[in-house]
Amino acid sequence: MSLLATYQTYKNRLTDRYDVLGTVFVEYRFEYLLALPSVLLISLLLWVPFFRGIWMSLFSWPLLGEPEWVGLGNFQFLFSWDPFWTSVKVTIIYGLNTVIHLVLGITAALIAYRLSGFAKKAASGTFLIAYAMPPVVTGTLWLYLLDPTFGPIQQLFVDLGVFSSPVYWSTDGTAALAVVTLVGGWTFWPFVFLIVLASREGISDTQYEMAKMYGASRLQQTLKITLPQLKSAILVAASLRIIWNLAKVSQPFQMTQGGPGYESSVLGLLLYRDAFFAGQMGRAYSVGIVLLLISLAAVLMFLREFERQSGEVEF
């Protein structure tokens, strides 16, 4: 076959392919036009920078200056760098915040559901206060409240005998991590509350009427009807909270800047410090990749629940 003929067949195949694509696009013009802005924006703003970041993690990439190829050198450095392992440990402890969020959020939701009228509005409104404020603001409020010399909550704890003397937590690694974690626990649980309460409202009362007829106790009703029905909601809330807790930056950053040393630097904060104080963009991004891998289990949990819920809709 001559070169020209080969060219011709390929050209025809290509035009056929384009024609098919063309008809598909014309037929679904409306759908594509509405979907494309979000797909394009997210691809350009999130996925392209993300892959560019993976590329950067293979370089020694100073903030100003020429990048230099180092292959997996950044990861090699990380795994032998003590602050990195401190940071992994700190991230896991901070991530346990999710337990606080779930316990507080679910309890508060079940309580608010039992209230009605003004009491319900007032209670759920109050529950949301901490979550509505910027995390940097709630962090600042707690810096004052927990100050060892004049913070009222410290004074309260000393008066109540919880502490024998004020705790100078900002210079003590363990205490600093405990404070940052507990303040995070105090701040973000209403997200779980919102999801669980809204989902509780969606469970019909008939099941409870039935259970009551058969003489089920309150505890049995909660364990056998409420919690199973809320399983989806709880798993969705838990997985999102795990992902977001593991990547928290702003509030711990405001409270301790990750210190003393690296004792309260969660991985997101280590990344931030490495990038903007040390100017090591490539190395900082390799920290981010480790963070991504740690949160992957939660991502899979979310996707599984998500698929199950929208299961009846065929993609």
Binding site: A123, V136, A198
Partner: protein
């Protein structure tokens, strides 16, 4: 049949020991929750009306003995330009996200087209993404593109979270709408487009209001992106200004009464917005197994 009793445990019959115990526990837990939230907040409000000497008072009391509004006046003056920036950042963020996310959520929820699933996953995965990872590549890229220190730069940065979050919430809402809504509209002569604009959008109003508020709050509250893609010469929002008061490294003694008033000035608007929009927001968060 009674749907829900106003008070827990009161079934109109005689109260057993368990019912009483349950009630006591119920109100104890409720009270603990309220105290856990309100005690810290009330002390910060108290601090914001004190003089510096009263901040350092040896004993613990809630109502300031010589209340002053000086910290609030000074706080407003210091923060004014930053509050304007926060407002513009939040407004722009939510405008872009609504224009993009509402149509997107609609077609992903209620239509079929080739490539829908992979495209949708591209978006939903970005909700599950640790956004701190974008800090580095975006600040680098924004510098090259001339978006550093500009309002559009901040607006676009926020979209990486606000768009997927809004789509996640709205898609659920669109899916719960009656299946034959568009067909009915088309029988009355609507095109796909006019059915969307004139029939679907009005029905979806509660969900749109919810994502409007959530997007606004995200724009107002976010520190991460705003701090990294602006500096003192650019549109710095109030949260970043607050961060700089504490960690700016000026080494002066902190005026805690001023810091508390500034924190509350920044923190109270989103609380008011949340309370105002609570009904819409709480409906939007329902996750029910169907």
């Amino acid at each position: 049949m009674s749907v829900r009793t106003a008070l827990p445990g009161s079934q109109g019959r005689q109260l057993s020991v368990w019912d009483v115990l349950y009630k006591v526990m119920f109100y104890t837990v409720l009270a603990s929750f309220l105290l856990m939230i309100l005690v810290p907040i009330l002390f910060t409000i108290s601090a914001s009306f004190r003089t510096l000497s009263e901040i350092f008072a040896a004993e613990l009391y809630l109502i300031p003995k010589e209340p002053t509004i000086e910290p609030w006046v000074e706080g407003f003056e210091d923060l004014r330009p930053f509050l304007v920036n926060s407002l513009m950042i939040a407004t722009g963020t939510v405008t872009i996200s609504l224009l993009v996310a509402v149509p997107g959520a609609y077609v992903f929820a209620r239509t079929t087209f080739p490539g829908r699933k992979p495209l949708f996953y591209l978006i939903i995965l970005s909700l599950l993404f640790p956004h701190v990872l974008l800090v580095i590549p975006i600040s680098d890229l924004w510098y090259d593109l001339g978006l550093y220190n500009t309002l559009p730069g901040v607006w676009l940065g926020h979209q990486t979270f606000v768009i997927p979050f809004s789509i996640w919430i709205m898609r659920d809402f669109f899916q719960k709408m009656p299946t034959n809504l568009e067909e009915a509209a088309q029988m009355y002569g609507c095109t796909k487009w006019s059915a969307f604009v004139r029939v679907v959008l009005p029905v979806a109003k509660p969900a749109i209001i919810a994502v409007l508020f959530l997007g606004f709050l995200n724009g107002w509250n976010d520190f991460l992106f705003a701090n990294m893609i602006t500096d003192n010469r650019g549109p710095r929002p109030a949260v970043v200004a607050l961060y700089n008061v504490i960690n700016g490294g000026s080494g002066e003694t902190t005026d805690w009464q001023l810091l508390m008033s500034e924190s509350l000035i920044i923190g109270l608007p989103p609380v008011v917005v949340y309370l105002f929009a609570r009904r819409y927001i709480s409906e939007a968060f329902a996750v029910n197994a169907s």
